[in-house]
Amino acid sequence: MTVIDAPPAQVPDELTPQRGRWHRVRPFLPLVALVVLAILPYSTISLPGIFEGPVNSPGTLQLLAICLIFGGLAAGYDLLFGRTGMLSFGHALYFAAGVYGTDILVTRAGLPLWQAALLTVTGGTILAALLGAVALRTVGIAFAMVTLAFAQVGAILVARDFGGLTGGEEGLPLDVSGLPAGLVGVTNTVNLYWLALAYLTLVVFVVHRVSGSPTGRVLAGLRDDERRIGVLGLDPYRYKLVAFTLAGGLASAGGVVYVLIVGGASPHITSSELTLSLLVMVVLGGPGTRWGPVLGGVLYMYLDHRLTAFGTSDAVDNLPAVLSRPLSQPLFVLGTVFILAVYFFPGGLTSLAPRLSHLTRSLRPPR
């Protein structure tokens, strides 16, 4: 019996990942982006066509702040959808709990902001834990329907205005008299912008830490094959509940910041459409990636705001009615892009870069 010493397998060149030119800089890119975003309000550049005024005008800063909030919300939702594989259709509920909770506690109960915020985030997290405990008894599509139904209760409660707390269809403007002076008024929009940026940073940090932890690996395992996790002796229910509660808490924290930026609560944020747009953001950006959902959320909100202006612009109005009318509906454009993305770019925006690099490499003449 002879033992043959097999030579170590040669790994073909094209399979070893090439070190890009920027591999030393790459880990610092998020930090650079954060610094750039943080000092952005100090610049007075105006980007015609992209923003209406200069970058540091209150209108632009508010739009940017809303975009950042939704980037953070999408990243939090991705913890459920992209990283754990849970298709929740009720995420708007926890966001709305944050918005309405803060608004009601500040405006109706007259609490100081920090108390209201603390109570709201705690309450939102507990709500997510309770409802998640019921909803997670189902799996898959049934889970989606149950979360949708729970969120619908929130929408009904807000719209019917029980006890005169929520202001019903008209919404509830935030009473700013009790708020810290730095967060009130048009001139202080920049502080709200930084608050939104801080929220986004917090969510990205938390999601990153969780997905890198042992818990995060179990969550990824649940996404890929839930039965195996069960066979390994881990309880899928508990881990999913942890993810659901954490995502709910992050969403309600986002609601606290959002109500300050917008200056009130309106019932449309409780609608199932908001959850659906979160789903669209995550899928467009790239589910299960660190920057994809953030990018998707920021881009979606930006387009949602800017497409309205685009739809009423002359260029669109001069088109024949068959084209101009659908194009004036942001949701039509976004919905169509979304369907195309599901078919042709299943990994979302973040998958575009590797695909394009494959393309350019194959087009380049061989050395």
Partner: protein, 296 residues
């Protein structure tokens, strides 16, 4: 006594509306595992198709036989859209459940926006025969005829679907497919034809719901389908996915609970009770009243 009967009959009218939407959803989900968010779009197409036909189609009108033609046109339009959606968008993605849901979500967003772009966001008065505006006295209760029309239509649709499932070859294929799709495929039967058929049936029922719902409410608006769809989902889960009879029972329970609690409690409480009912059913009997266990 009159109030109770009136509430019961209007509740049944609501139940009929839910059933028309839920029966298609339930069959589509039971057979093809597609959670169809675009079902509200089929309803909207049916409603707007009827509305358009009554005003513009020669031979159709808001009254008498013309109204039947208008409703038939609306139902045909809804069926056509459903079949097209299945063939073009859903079929390439079979067995990829999440992607299918995503596509129907995108479709519901874009479709409603398209309806809104074409006919405006505001509710439009729905053309309806004069007799549907009147009331009929039943045991001392003055019941609106529009609601009675819905109940009759729902009972007819239920009978037709059950007869189709029981006595035709394709009905047999669909029933077998709900039980075990792989086995049916293994026997050499092309289940995908049955998928298209189920989408057509569901689309037709939803479009009929849209047309008759327009008669019942008196107006038609782009967002109408969306709010009905959520309660239809609840009906499907309570009734058990894939079971038409289960959907019928669940629709009756949901409609009656909603109507009675909304009347005797505060307005809106009935809707919340329905969701509470859903939670209770899921905790005690996750597979619904009838039907297979609801899993992904």
């Amino acid at each position: 006594m009159g109030t109770v009967i009136l509430l019961a009959l209007t509740g049944l009218g609501l139940a009929a509306l839910y059933f028309l939407v839920a029966s298609g959803l339930s069959l589509v989900f039971g057979l093809a595992d597609v959670l169809n968010f675009a079902h509200g779009l089929f309803l909207g197409v049916g409603a707007y198709g009827t509305w358009w036909a009554a005003g513009n189609l020669p031979g159709a009108g808001p009254d008498g036989f013309g109204f039947v033609v208008a409703v038939a046109f609306g139902v045909a339009a809804g069926t056509l859209v459903a079949v097209l959606v299945e063939l073009v968008l859903i079929r390439p993605l079979y067995s990829r459940t999440i992607e299918q849901v995503l596509v129907t979500v995108g479709l519901s967003l874009a479709g409603v926006a398209l309806l809104q772009a074409t006919w405006g966001a505001d509710a439009r008065p729905f053309p309806r025969p004069d007799w549907t505006r009147q009331v009929t006295g039943i045991l001392g209760a003055q019941v609106p005829n529009g609601g009675l029309l819905l109940i009759i239509a729902a009972v007819l649709v239920l009978g037709a679907i059950l007869a189709f499932l029981r006595w035709t070859r394709y009905g047999l294929v669909i029933r077998a497919g709900v039980e075990n799709r792989e086995m049916v495929t293994a026997l050499g039967i092309d289940v995908r034809k049955a998928f298209t058929l189920v989408f057509a049936i569901g689309g037709a029922a939803a479009a009929l719901a849209g047309a008759l719902g327009g008669v019942y409410f008196g107006t038609v608006s782009p967002g109408q389908g969306g709010s009905l769809l959520i309660f239809a989902f609840i009906v499907v889960v309570i009734g058990g996915m894939g079971s038409v009879v289960g959907s019928a029972y669940a629709a009756v329970v949901v409609g009656l609970v909603q109507q009675f609690v909304n009347y005797y409690g505060t307005s809106g409480l009935g809707d919340i009770c329905v969701v509470g009912l859903l939670a209770v059913v899921l905790l005690l009997r996750p597979q619904g009243i009838a039907g297979k266990v609801a899993t992904a």
